[in-house]
Symmetry: C2
DNA sequence: GTAAGTAGTATACAAAAGGATAGTGAAAAA
DNA sequence: TTTTTCACTATCCTTTTGTATACTACTTAC
């Protein structure tokens, strides 16, 4: 009786210790568009319309909203050049680049997942 | 002129090659609850109400919905024992366990992210 | 003169995700 | 006898996400 309860408590603690940081990460990264936008910026600094072309399916409204969120989380930097015509460049911050390994891992899993789905169908 | 266009086309292709698999992964994993549920099952097979206790804040409705989706993607297995009372056990499939590295990477980033936020405030 | 590109914003709407609360029916514990 | 446990489902509601379309004001190219 005591044993079982202690064991449960122990795994619950360990469980929480894993869930909380993952939840912190998800708060910043979750949604359909943030990671694709970051991936596009990993290949170089881009302007608004360039990102729009490279992230298939995104609308201007979503891109603008997501860029603002990424900027407020210090993952992306926005720089304005000149005034006529206005040119705006987006780039990854150093912190944004720290997501490289997360993206690589997720990408590898995604590749395997797609293969698996192909075989099944 | 030709050079610039070729270069752009090249990075666009590479970019797409990264975005598509990440998008495949996100389709299965995105949302607030799926990864936390999987983490809870990484610590052992569980019954419905046990998962509900270990994933802080989740409602029965969300848990039931997410478990069904995870099952249909073959990440989670649902087993019914006996009939009175009904006992249902959830477990990770082997495929579900392949997410271990994804979760570890995300967790590590989340830990660093939380530290960073603490320092800032 | 017209179209396309620059970086977005405004508006209206539909769909999906998530939250709060209550209820089911049978059994076992208080 | 009332409560608790089990594994959910039902209903209603709000918030978030996403889509579609049009618009701004200026410049360059055709």
């Amino acid at each position: 009786m005591g044993k079982t309860k202690e064991t449960n408590q122990h795994t619950l603690d360990e469980c929480t210790k894993s869930i909380l940081p993952v939840r912190d990460a998800l708060e910043v990264l979750s949604g359909k568009w943030k990671l694709p936008i970051i991936i596009s910026l990993m290949f170089g600094n881009k302007r608004f319309s360039q990102i729009a072309k490279e992230v298939p399916g995104i609308t201007d409204k979503m891109l603008s909203k997501e860029l603002r969120e990424l900027e407020s989380n210090e993952l992306v930097k926005r720089t304005v050049y000149g005034s006529i015509p206005v040119v705006v460049e987006y780039s990854l911050t150093e912190y944004g680049h720290s997501l490289k390994i997360v993206i690589k891992t997720l990408r590898d899993w995604g590749v395997a997942h797609r293969k698996r789905m192909m075989v099944e169908s």
